[in-house]
Symmetry: C2
Subunit: 685 residues, 2 copies
């Protein structure tokens, strides 16, 4: 640790007006009801729960964050392993539910090396194991005696699961499977919790019986000794090395040299091998697995709002504290420098993202409602007999479109927030860079964002074919498509600037236009699938934007919203809704008027006058609108985003008094007793 600052430095304060005064001013001039809005976003139960958990975590020395930004990879992993362990212990001590455990993880805000044990390993054993397998594997796993991971992706195969190279060959003579890596590219890769933490893995391997392949199946394989934690013979396992972020996670590699596992290690709730005959037993209900993927995507959609909100919170607060330049039109030198957030260029970068945090959150909620509704129907199959009640395809397509779009918006929005903080945004102490870097894999995993758009296009094309074939419109997208067909000759005349419902309709119209255009290319012009991928990506993006705009609109119309919030707060939410929608209307302008969803003139008006007036309306409430997200300072771990605005004191303290590079033992010129004098006296190297 560096020595404390000298007394004359301790006596220095930032030049005024100070951060705390400026944020106090911001908060006093807005009538947004922060606590009410926070409860609307999170519920009071959740806010109270989080406060309790925060207190417990802050009291525990292992969760001290002060070295986080300084630790190298090895120290990061060591700290993360110790934290994961402590978290498990606290979880037992306080009898935390799964939600409380997750809330604690969110507050700690770093990927944990037990992460994949607690999620995918346990879930897979649970969902795909038989009762006998639960007894054999799940109990020990729940007990943390087995620590596991989910080993699917390989060095040579990511998205294309069917192309996995690892094999599991059935041996009828001793009723075992031989797990084997035939090539280097068969090495399992990117597997979270595998590099250091796990002693077991669910390995996804191609099941081979009598030389015939039956596709990828899940096998439980022990990989490390339970006492020594050394890899077992003929297993090569380790950490895959540093990454752009996520460095508290021990993503690992894993190779097998003909490892035998008994028959029971193939998780066989849905499919398997008859041990007596060696015959393959076919899967019964693949829809269940489908459902799990959809659930994970839905949670990504919900999280995207708060993921982005962290960056927006930091940037908005800092831009209200930071002052730079006088107003160019000001004739009065005494006015002092402007708060950076007063510049329209800064507002133009940050406030649409502030709007997006709410928009994504409301859509995430709607997405989870749809998921839960589907779960209910699946649990009660009698209601699922009529064809119009099958919402699984809707659920699948909307989760794909929204996952792809919302995680892109969150990731790219965080980088915009970082840059909006100017030079200091680049400091680790901004708290945005590491958060962004850790979030980035979300655009690739659980379906690469570009790949997913093909699923969405397939769904929309199929719906469009249904509409053209005269099938009754049983869901929202069919109604949108049918309405477009009915009205396309008379055209649309949406009052996008003054009528909220019309604004939503303009987004719907554009989706329908792009869908039928793509359908024409595919079905009439017989264009190749590959040549349409760019169109499909545009289409999926348009669909996602429509869903988000619609969900935001519906949230505003909802009676619960109106009864939960003061009118001044709902007015602000409505301005955010407009800003969100008009922002995309401008950035995708050409799609809106080539489709006839709006006129060139409307978009020009939206871009100039309307946007400026919205920015002006929202500006005074920006700080309170981020306050409502209620991120504790401990969670943000940001000098720039402190609730109290003491930005410069915090930056200076971390740099000068915590930064280990300022330890007096650090010697920049270790190999000569005096300073390096290049050409005169080249010292040894």
């Amino acid at each position: 640790m560096p020595p404390p600052n000298p007394d004359w430095v301790k006596a220095l304060v930032p030049s005024g007006p100070h951060g705390p005064e400026l944020l106090e001013q911001e908060r006093s001039k807005s009538n947004v009801n922060v606590n009410q809005l926070a409860e609307f976003l999170h519920t009071s139960q959740v806010l109270e729960r989080n406060a309790k958990i925060l207190e417990i975590l802050q009291a525990h020395p292992v969760f001290d964050k002060s070295q986080n930004y300084f630790n190298g990879r090895i120290d990061k992993i060591k700290a993360a392993l110790a934290r994961a362990k402590a978290l498990r212990q606290l979880s037992i001590k306080h009898q935390w539910s799964q939600e409380e455990y997750t809330a604690a993880n969110d507050l700690i805000s770093e990927p944990t090396p037990y992460g994949l044990h607690a999620s995918m390993f346990l879930k897979t054993l649970q969902e795909q194991g038989t009762p006998a397998q639960h007894k054999l594997f799940l109990e020990k796993a729940q007990n943390y005696e087995y620590i596991g991971c989910y080993a699917q992706t390989e060095l040579g195969h990511g998205s294309n699961v069917r192309g996995l190279e690892t094999t599991a060959t059935w041996n009828q003579e001793d009723k075992t499977f031989t797990i084997h890596s035939p090539h280097l590219t068969a090495s399992k890769w990117w597997i979270g919790s595998l590099g250091k933490a796990a002693n077991h893995a669910v390995v996804i391997a191609q099941l081979v019986i009598n030389g015939k392949s039956y596709g990828p199946h899940p096998f439980v394989v022990q990989i490390r000794d339970l006492k020594t934690h050394k890899p077992l013979p003929n297993i090569h396992v380790g950490d895959i090395g540093p990454k752009f972020g996520y460095n508290t996670m021990d993503n690992g590699f894993l190779l097998f040299n003909k490892i035998k596992v008994p028959h029971i290690n193939l998780l066989s709730r849905f499919s398997g091998v008859d041990p007596d005959t060696g015959k393959y037993v076919k899967p019964q209900n693949p829809a269940l697995v489908y459902g799990t993927m959809t659930y994970i995507r839905s949670t990504i959609v919900l999280q995207s709002g708060s993921v982005l909100a962290r960056g927006v919170t930091i940037a908005v607060r800092y831009c209200a504290v930071r002052r730079q330049f006088q107003d160019r039109d000001s004739t009065n030198d005494e006015h002092g420098e402007n708060q950076v957030i007063d510049y329209t260029m800064v507002q133009h970068r940050l406030l649409p993202l502030l709007a997006a945090t709410y928009a994504l959150h409301f859509t995430g909620r709607a997405m989870l409602r749809l998921y839960n509704e589907n779960q209910k129907r699946m649990a009660n199959p009698s209601s699922a007999t009529s064809s119009d009640s099958d919402i699984l395809p809707d659920l699948h397509a909307t989760s794909c479109a929204l996952k792809a779009f919302s995680s892109t918006v969150a990731a790219e929005g965080l980088e915009v927030c970082r840059r909006a903080c100017g030079g200091h945004g680049y400091s680790a102490f901004s708290g945005i860079g590491s958060w962004y870097a850790d979030y980035l894999p979300t655009v690739t995993w659980e379906g690469d964002n570009y790949m997913l758009t093909q699923q969405v296009a397939r769904y929309l094309l199929k719906s469009a074919r249904g509409v053209l074939a005269g099938k009754p419109a049983s869901n929202d997208i069919s109604r949108v498509l049918a309405e477009f067909i009915a009205r396309q000759d008379i055209g649309a005349a949406f009052d996008i600037l003054d009528n909220d419902e019309d604004l939503v309709k303009a987004f719907a119209w554009r989706v329908a236009f792009l869908t039928f255009e793509a359908l024409k290319h595919r079905d009439e012009e017989k264009q190749s699938w590959n040549s349409l991928l760019i169109d499909f990506w545009r289409l999926s993006t348009a669909f996602a934007q429509y869903l988000i705009v619609k969900n935001f609109y519906e949230t505003l119309q909802d009676e619960t919203t109106k009864s939960s919030l003061d009118s001044s707060t709902t007015t602000m939410l409505r301005s955010l809704f407009h800003l969100f929608a008009l922002n995309y209307l401008q950035s995708h302008a050409s799609e809106f008027f080539t489709s006839g969803a709006s006129t060139v003139r409307q978009i020009q008006l939206a871009r100039t006058k309307r946007t400026l007036s919205l920015l002006k309306e929202i500006r005074p409430h920006a700080v309170k609108l981020v306050d409502a997200w209620k991120f504790p300072d401990w969670q943000l771990d940001s000098s720039l985003g402190r609730y109290d605005g003491r930005v410069y004191e915090d930056m200076f303290h971390r740099a000068s008094e915590v930064n280990p590079l300022n330890d007096i033992t650090f010697d920049p010129y270790p190999d000569s007793s005096v300073l390096f004098q290049g050409d005169k006296r080249p010292s040894k190297l």
Copy 2:
């Protein structure tokens, strides 16, 4: 170091077809002349020079890169200091010129802690010092006895230099200046080479004489002892801590508690204090300083092409090696998986960036030509008497517009390249992440990219006023604006799809339209400067795009280009030109047709048929077009971007045999002899 891989792992190879075969195929099917194109880009002298320097660096153990991606901050700084020192020694030994020294730095590809000594410190002493000051400071600095930095930015002030808080107060009685930091926010901050390396600083402080401030001036201040390298009394100095990138640089902070320096320490070639009278001596030629900023921005423009080209090289090669999924329309299972680069969605992301690497490079060259022309005119003032020869305003505005645009394109393009590599793009071994992170400050420094756009708008508005006032059109932009005025009533009818010159004209037309629109808002409607910032940013972006499209076009028209390159190669460059221009035409479509520079139909055609056919034309030549950039593997330091395509072998080797986390001494469960068994036996923490 981890143990070597077991023999059975060493025996594994990737599944085929292998990277080397695939890249060999790519290279054999394109008729682009790589060496010819490389010489056209770099000249054969530069290529030979680089090869010689590369050999020297590779032979020196201090430049071994194998631990770079694993080192934590402290080891990074230690290695960087040792390398900086060795580089200086090699530079003396081999009598390297400044260009050769820079080339060596480029090959090493990491910021060096002596970077700001070698650039800003020496340059400032040279340019702003008197002969007496050169004798006193510069000679020792050139000798590396004094190691210095350029201390301008403060904790509370970045862009606004006039707002700096550090003071230098003239003391007539003993003819000294007192350098002082009155507030915490006065602390110098972000200063490269200051944190650990420097013993001197050029400190930019507000000169105060008799209570009156004369604005920021440069003072030479010793900050550390020359023998012990300890900070001098009443100076608080250190490293500002980790950053999103640039962690081999010791960016520092610096506070002064009433430090006295003699009169000679104010660098006074242009302005100063008369030591006898205590009177201020006014600056004579501020244009010279202006010129330096312009030079730095011009080099940023030139570099942006090759900065981006590194990412594009890596992504294009890896996407040619990586195979994933079969073609959806393919009925033949035997075809195997597609090379990822065959997907139009991947082409749509990467090939416009490939085009941008060339476009930015050609514009950078044009920018430096303009700079050199201006230097000549300034050196020969007789030719500068006629008003039309004053190209300084053009130089300033174009350097601002192009710096802002090209560094944004390069930074954001690198992230696109990283994502186009799929999951493996996130690995440190991709070589893109760290390169991107180190490049990012470029969008903020030497003028924040958003701030700079105001300078551009001011220039364009002034030019437009001149045109409206009937001043003769003496430069390119005046001609563009005058032509727009002359033709605006009859309108434009540019054949953007078939006529290259018209394509350039469409970009010019849009700039003129946006300029006169902004002028109307400002001069007729008297809108505030602040309310126009978003328009100004759009305008500056349009201007930059016009310049780049025009320079690309002119490069293709140039006789030297035609005589240097085979026609097959120039044909390819022309396709890149079209792709570059049409890509921005689409992404900014609404500006093109609201201005009347193109029709909606033209843009639709550009988006659909034309773009797809350009992607198809360029695709077979992509690998050779990146090869022409001639990055040695040692420079790229990327598993994915290897020239030979041995992607998976390299990834696996680095992860398993170099990664220190796989050292057998690393113990993930250090505090219990057996594996952690959570609830049964909570071990101590």
